[in-house]
Symmetry: C2
Subunit: 506 residues, 2 copies
């Protein structure tokens, strides 16, 4: 059999089986197929799939039934778009040579510091979809175990910027504000962006969907307006209104980040290196020059101690300096959730009540947003030091922030009302007492069990905060769910973990 | 919807799709299924699948086509056996609560030493099939990055022993011999076992299939006799002949090991902790009390420096002492392959020529086997110190070792002749010179590209060793493959990596 004929034999016809494996590309081949047999491929082998000029490395699953004929292959849902193929297209399959860049990942595992060349090679392969979930897990784990290094973090951020799209605005300052997370309900971006845009600053805000939390800013914003904009539309919104609040996944700014996060999330591993590289790569790729970082600190927040906060603050500043951005870290109270709602629609509802100046608007969300907006105005050079918060307050109370928010929503595709859940359940105090503590992580888990963020109306509403006195049978929180099953999960978990809201004798 | 009715709705009928995902359990559900929709499950969710009294945690893949009806589900091949189910059986699906033991893996990533309780919890979950590939990758990576600790390694080995079967022989010594690997062709166990059994010692040898190499001892042995024996049959062989050489995967001695290795292999990560725990857990579970470790040292072997050898030697001894076993580490030359053949059948052919005393039998393989057999005889107390090798040589040259090997093969199910490859290709010296070095790792890769170990006849035969002088056009090695495609892969790689066998001017 000649080499040409052999290669010819490696061409198979794609059949759509509609199997969704999340972000990992998988190729399905019949064990009886001549390709599988002549090549000696087994399940878990790494196979290169080439369609016209696009190719991807996929993990092989072998089918032993009649799902696929001997000359057919199928792809997992994510792989179809990677190679831009449709049902019936012909693809060429070949052995995927070992990725050179995995040698750098191994070096990292064994304690090396990686340089730009190594990180560029790794991130290029990740963006090309060539890393299996196992490879990504090793990459994430290797960084989670070591003390972050500024040079290495900068190199990682640069590699993530260089492998995606980039926005240039031809002016400065371009501001941004980012929260390092871990605090449910902290949806200040949706208030800060309209305030600073109403003052004339430019804030091209891209935000993430939930990673380990019940809602990301993109999830909350999506209950009020479309967020799934491409880069050209995002630019038009910002040019017109001065700000946007869109989902970062579509615009392909630092796209490696979303792939890395797909494995970070189930592992529930954090690393300073990846956190700082993730935040700054997205912001710098969006063209931002002046960045305010909101860093909540608390026993169940992402940053749990002053020492961790100091280390992360120093890393943020060192890396931002190298990337040519001005940065200010604002430490904030991370002991309890912000606002009342946890979950996409419930958090958006809090935001709207603040923007509208409702009497019952959550004061903590309002105060945090004004503080942060003040810092952005000062860092952006349109408020003197110490006057930013007052200026922001004026913009909010005058209604100019609400008007700007409505215009941003319209520009993004039209404003809408957040949905409400069909199923609710009140959780009441079992005795009289005083709220001594709230476990953010467990509270987040309850909201996720109730269906957030996938079910946009799901989550929970807190009726009491730390130091509040409550009577027996007074509602502590209300669960919201879109299905009875999910309401049940949340109730079961809460029953097994009553310490989520700690009551002390008052 | 009542809770009872809701649970009722989570019962689905299994349909066999025949999808092999290697060791990871996967459950397939239609996106339109009421379970998927009411539970809010998405691809990559972790789902508990329960069939009668057996259950497993599987990763969800969602099908968006008509592969599965709304009341159907399917499983990956490995998951069927885990829950002991057949096509058409009913299973119950439920949300898999987060595994508590993953908290210990995260602690390890962040630098903790794990105690017995933590390691027992992790290994129990691994053996139950509850770890996803991502979880396993984090576990493997976390140990690869840190200096091994004797107490932790002992606790890991004990956890691996306690979660599997165990053999008791009611007598002592029970001997074993294990090579830490990295040296192609080093198939001494197949010679040592018959020698020491012929001398009256008991050696219940379980061996692995290839991990990162072109052949494990089990792969080579399988070309001469069946190795896929269960524990009861293995015991009968040993009781009758004093020794066996069987595949360890079937007998479920320390079964966690095979699952961990399924992820270690594609990651190509080694850790002292896992290496020592893997070797000693298997040996101690097999009832061995006196163990000889063959540790080849060389620039491209698994152990590359005297410092690494010292550290690994100390770890082996410390852990063996804790587990109550006598152990002797024998350091050997790891600069080049042992024997001539690399690949299952080619290595078995070398072994047979040594046992048969053929004139052209590879002297290096013979010498190593005799040295190790001598140490086993001495450690086992039936040869005085310094006399073991002479005794072993006598048993080999007298033909008693061959006779014992044939009896072992018969007891395991019948002796057979190793297969020969249909396709071969001679690689010749491009010039006159002297062999200055051989890259074991690249050579192993070439044998694997040629199809080893899956294709038992595939691999390569070396015609020259370090310091040999060769003429231009003299064959350096012969590639063996069972398919033209695989022969091509190996040739292409070799053409791109001519330094695999380094030639110097003589």
């Amino acid at each position: 059999m000649s080499r040409a004929a052999h290669q010819e034999a490696n061409v198979v016809r794609l059949k759509r089986l509609g199997i969704d494996t999340y972000q990992e590309p998988v190729v399905f081949l019949a064990s009886s197929s001549p390709v599988c047999r002549s090549e000696g491929w087994m399940a878990q082998a790494r196979i290169q799939v080439t369609h016209r000029h696009k190719s991807i490395i996929a993990t092989l699953s072998v089918t032993t039934s009649n799902l696929l004929g001997p000359d057919e292959a199928s792809l997992s849902e994510v792989a179809w778009s990677h190679v831009d193929a449709s049902d019936g297209d012909l693809v060429r399959l070949s052995y995927a040579p070992p990725l050179e860049s995995l040698g750098h990942v191994r070096a990292k595992v064994y304690g090396a510091r990686l340089d730009s060349d190594a990180l560029n090679a790794i991130v290029r392969d990740i963006v090309a979809g060539s890393y299996s979930d196992i490879d990504l897990a090793a990459f994430v784990t290797a960084f989670a175990g070591v003390r972050p290094d500024a040079a290495e973090t900068t190199a990682l951020a640069r590699a993530m910027i260089d492998t995606g799209e980039r926005l240039y605005w031809g002016r400065s300052p371009i501001v941004d504000k980012h929260c390092v997370g871990g605090l449910p309900g902290n949806r200040t971006s949706m208030i800060v962006a309209p305030i600073v845009a109403a003052c004339g600053l430019t804030m091209p805000k891209t935000s993430s969907r939930a990673i380990t939390s019940p809602a990301g800013t993109a999830d909350a914003m999506e209950t009020v307006a479309p967020v799934d904009l491409d880069l050209a539309r995002m630019r038009r919104v910002v040019e017109r209104e001065g700000a946007c609040i869109v989902w970062g996944g579509r615009v392909r700014l630092a796209p490696a980040d979303d792939i890395i996060i797909s494995v970070e999330r189930p592992l529930d591993l954090d690393s300073g290196t990846q956190l700082v590289a993730s935040v700054l790569s997205k912001n710098v790729a969006a063209g931002s020059t002046h960045i305010v970082i909101d860093m909540p600190i608390g026993p169940t927040a992402k940053v749990r101690s002053i020492a961790s906060a100091d280390a992360l603050d120093a890393l943020f500043n060192a890396v931002a300096r190298e990337l040519g951005a001005e940065l200010r870290v604002i430490r904030s109270d991370g002991t309890q959730p912000v606002g009342r709602g946890i979950g996409p629609a419930l958090e958006a509802t809090d935001v709207l009540s603040v923007l509208r100046g409702a009497d019952d608007a959550p004061a903590d969300l309002r105060d945090r947003a004004l503080l942060l907006a003040g810092h952005v105005l000062e860092l952006g050079g349109i408020a003197t030091v110490g006057s930013g918060c007052a200026k922001a307050t004026d913009v909010l109370t005058s209604g100019r922030a609400l008007a700007k928010f409505e215009k941003i929503c319209e520009a993004q595709g039209g404003m809408r009302t957040p949905p409400r859940a069909a199923f609710t359940y009140d959780v009441r105090a079992t005795r009289r007492g005083c709220i001594a503590g709230i476990d953010n992580r467990r509270l987040a888990r309850i909201a996720k069990l109730a269906g957030a963020p996938r079910a946009p109306a799901a989550g929970l509403v807190l009726h009491a905060k730390i130091a509040d006195r409550v009577e027996r049978d007074q509602p502590l929180l209300t669960l919201h769910a879109e299905s009875a099953g999910e309401l049940d999960y949340a109730r079961t978990y809460l029953a097994a973990n009553p310490q989520v809201i700690a009551l002390e004798d008052s």
